[in-house]
């Protein structure tokens, strides 16, 4: 309850204890990644954040379907029951 629901691609489930869906508490996206790193190991953080502390361009994160690149990136505020979706940034067209 009052947690944020994070969904990751099946391919990454093993990184998150075999789960595609993880529940964590955090006030913004940066804190959420810190929480994930605490639970599942530090290389989680390196996968998401570059050396300048920014979200790596190869990853897209959506909060309730909205791309965080249009809402403050890692500073995007989170509320209980928000749905966070993590996907690799893939080309289409």
């Amino acid at each position: 309850m009052n947690e944020i629901i994070v969904t990751v691609p099946s391919l990454l489930a093993s990184t998150f204890g075999g789960n595609k869906e993880i529940k964590v508490s955090a006030k913004n996206l940066r804190m959420l990644i810190d929480e994930l790193a605490k639970k599942f190991g530090n290389n989680v953080k390196e996968r998401f954040i570059d050396s300048e502390g920014k979200l790596r361009p190869v990853i897209n994160i959506y909060v309730n379907g909205k791309n965080v690149r249009f809402s403050g990136e890692l500073e995007t505020a989170l509320n209980p029951n928000d749905k966070v979706t993590i996907l690799p940034a893939v080309a289409g067209g």
Binding site: R47, R56, P57, T85, V90, A91, G92, G93
Partner: protein, 407 residues
């Protein structure tokens, strides 16, 4: 065709066996197919007996068993010496790569063909795509040929012709509220949840291999040489990147001499994130939340391969430029009225940008230039209807013609 193939992460270089994983587990980077280039012995003669479609290059495509190929006779489209148009815009050695004549009337028949064939090779039970329109028809056509259920995710507001064409092949078309990036995200989630082979998402590693055949063909049609300059319309950036990979592979296997080709990107004003980054000398792409251009097939605000395409433009000493809707329509008319080729707006973008670069003196009249025309005008008539004169209504007698026909 038993060539050795592996996957390699474009970011960190980690290698993987061929599979339908589509990103690096360590760093999220995209995966590329690499071949054992020493095994590939291409020369001019071996192509005489090969099929006149994209499968003539099968030894540098990822399908390991030819039985899995789904073939609708795409590719090997004409490379036209466009003297009329060249004269009009000030180029002496000008070619059009006419991919409007593919079976579903766009270049997307190339990547969709390889993507769907790999879905068959992996034994996937359903396929799909996220599309700005052209890929919808291409994927649905291949799915029909392969007898696989197909789920096509499109944004709201696509051209009626593109939707109608795609619907005819019988897929499930899912119109997603929002723009292309919303459709793309939902397709990615569906691919993961339902194990659908979405050609430009979880099969994208293979999909882009189809696009690179454009590069092989240009080289082959120029007698295994490269032009001085290629103008590429850019949406996601995947085509531009794939074209470069194709040229690089030709150099690796030794069938062409050293690459000295420039590759330039063309985008529509209102959705030109790559052009912005190039002109402002940035090393990242700033996404566009609300793309606005009549070139809907290029209206991708957050181009997945944008950063890679940007690096390639710089590596290949190319340029990046955008054109307005008016310039796009003018270029469509110019192409039709000089060379008899009716292009959709994306082709108007590449030709419009070329014209602009020549006028600005950034491309010299003597350069051997190839302009990619990637989709047929019948797919998006709304872009030009209203910009063209109306038919002349006459009574059915000869006298009525006298003021019209010029003798």
């Amino acid at each position: 065709m038993g060539g050795t193939r592996i996957l390699q992460c474009r970011e960190c270089g980690k290698e993987y066996p061929i599979s339908n994983n589509y990103f690096c587990e360590d760093c999220f980077g995209p995966l590329d197919v690499l071949y054992n280039y020493d095994e590939i012995k291409w020369n001019q003669n071996i192509f005489k007996e090969r099929p006149k479609n994209l499968w003539r290059y099968l030894d540098l495509l990822p399908i390991s068993n030819p039985k899995h190929i789904v073939n609708i006779e795409a590719g090997f489209t004409p490379l036209i010496k466009a003297d009329n148009l060249g004269k009009e815009i000030g180029l002496k050695n000008f070619y059009i790569k006419n991919d409007t004549v593919n079976p579903t009337f766009s270049f997307k028949d190339r990547p969709a063909g390889v993507g769907i064939s790999m879905a068959v090779e992996f034994g996937l039970k359903s396929v799909g795509c996220a599309s700005t329109g052209n890929l919808a028809a291409a994927t649905a056509a291949y799915a029909a040929k392969a007898g696989l259920p197909c789920y096509v995710f499109i944004p709201q507001g696509l051209e009626n012709e593109k939707v109608a064409q795609a619907l005819a092949y019988g897929p499930h078309i899912i119109e997603v509220e929002g723009n292309y990036d919303a459709a793309n995200r939902l397709a990615a989630q569906a691919a993961d949840t339902y194990n659908i082979g979405v050609v430009n998402i979880n099969l994208r590693t293979y999909y882009v291999e189809g696009s690179k055949t454009l590069g092989y063909e240009i080289a082959e049609q120029l007698n295994w040489s490269l032009p001085d300059h290629v103008i590429v319309p850019v949406g996601s950036g995947a085509l531009l990147h794939a074209l470069c990979k194709g040229f690089e592979e030709l150099e690796l296997i030794g069938i062409i001499d050293k690459r000295e080709v420039k590759i330039s990107a063309a985008q529509g004003h209102g959705c030109a994130p790559l052009v912005e980054s190039f002109k402002n000398n940035l090393n990242k792409i700033i996404p566009i939340e609300h793309p606005k251009t009549i070139a809907k097939s290029l209206a991708i605000g957050e181009p997945g391969d944008g950063i890679y395409a940007l690096r390639k433009i710089r590596e290949y000493n190319g340029l990046a430029e955008d054109v307005t809707n008016e310039e796009i329509v003018e270029a469509i008319r110019l192409l039709a009225q000089t060379e008899g080729i009716f292009s959709e707006p994306a082709g108007g973008v590449s030709l419009g940008v070329l014209k602009k670069l020549v006028e600005a003196g950034k491309i010299s009249p003597d350069e051997k230039v190839v302009c990619l025309i990637t989709g047929c005008g019948l797919k998006a008539t709304e872009a030009v209807v209203g910009q063209l004169p109306n038919p002349i209504l006459v009574e059915p007698n000869l006298e009525a013609l006298a003021p019209i026909i010029q003798m």
